[in-house]
Symmetry: C2
Subunit: 191 residues, 2 copies
């Protein structure tokens, strides 16, 4: 079976074209929590991962209002990830952080988040983008201080051996051999 | 000196904030072919690479009307590239092709290109995305058959040892050790 798939930006609806038993079915539009007849793709697309931060407390609670849709995973991309991420008013993209190995890139689709780096604050708007080169140590974070939602694309590669530093919080993180983030206090003790 | 930079979607204008001699200058807006006082960043952003295809003829001529702005390069990202690409009516994204190592992802911002794969044609529209996993051999291409421009983001990683196949053309390509594409006929003779 072959599936072509696309995701609608605003709704997260998954538009698919599937071939089963030698016959094409065009433009199937799936809404909501559709039970997936094809495999793991749809579940990934429709689960918005609102609670999927891997931060330990007290940091996990600060990610409320952030919704990630992992678009790249839908297509089984493994070299990099692409998320369609929504921040409701007051929400933020992540703790302010910097990666040792992973390049990151964001492109603003809707709304006006504030980008915070070591150099201060910059107001972004739709059509603007920012890149965060691995290894600079310059922490970055998007915060939605406006009254409307922010929607943006974020891209990050999956280089092995990555780690992250958090200039504003008592936290450090490293990717383990299974690709899971392990979080420690800055003094090295685990959470 | 430190520079924050963002690129405006429609115009390709580069909005920067720079710190020189300990003083921040906010919201510098640069238009057109600005002579770059800061380094290589601006040149990359403002050169639209309309003629930068590396295809040999007769294929290079078929890329007329495709304009790429390498956004990721502006921020010196090296693990993956992000292009903001415009297709005027009649233009296409590339020859239909498939990568052996590089994952690819596109997200449509403006217009309605046709996605062509081994499974046929799918009309895309703004907010839709598609991913092309490395190694499937399923060639893909976007073609703008509409009367308005198409604008999309494309992401691709830079895995070493990549190669590309072109199901519809007498062409094959491989990345050499310098990261340059080398093009051959399908029988192995060079162009």
């Amino acid at each position: 079976m072959f599936i072509d798939m696309m995701v609608e930006q605003e709704t997260g609806r998954l538009l698919s074209r599937e071939k089963t038993l030698g016959r094409w079915r065009h433009g199937t539009l799936l809404q909501g929590r559709h039970r997936c007849p094809f495999g793991p793709y749809f579940k990934v697309a429709l689960n918005t991962r609102t609670s999927s931060t891997t931060y330990p407390e007290p940091f996990a609670s600060r990610m409320v209002g952030r919704e990630k849709r992992p678009l790249g995973d839908i297509f089984e991309l493994s070299n990099f990830g692409v998320n369609l991420t929504r921040l409701i008013p007051g929400a933020c993209s992540a703790l302010r952080h910097a990666h040792s190995k992973q390049d990151e890139f964001v492109y603003i689709l809707v709304g006006c988040p504030v980008l915070i780096t070591d150099q201060g604050e910059t107001l972004l708007s739709p059509g603007m983008c920012a890149g965060f080169k691995a290894g600079t140590g310059n922490g970055h974070q998007l915060v939605n201080r406006a009254n409307e939602d922010v929607l943006y694309l974020e891209v990050g590669d999956r280089t092995a051996g990555d780690s992250a530093t958090y200039p504003d919080d008592d936290l450090q993180a490293a990717l383990d051999n299974d690709g899971e983030w392990q979080f420690l206090h800055k003094n090295g003790t685990p959470y």
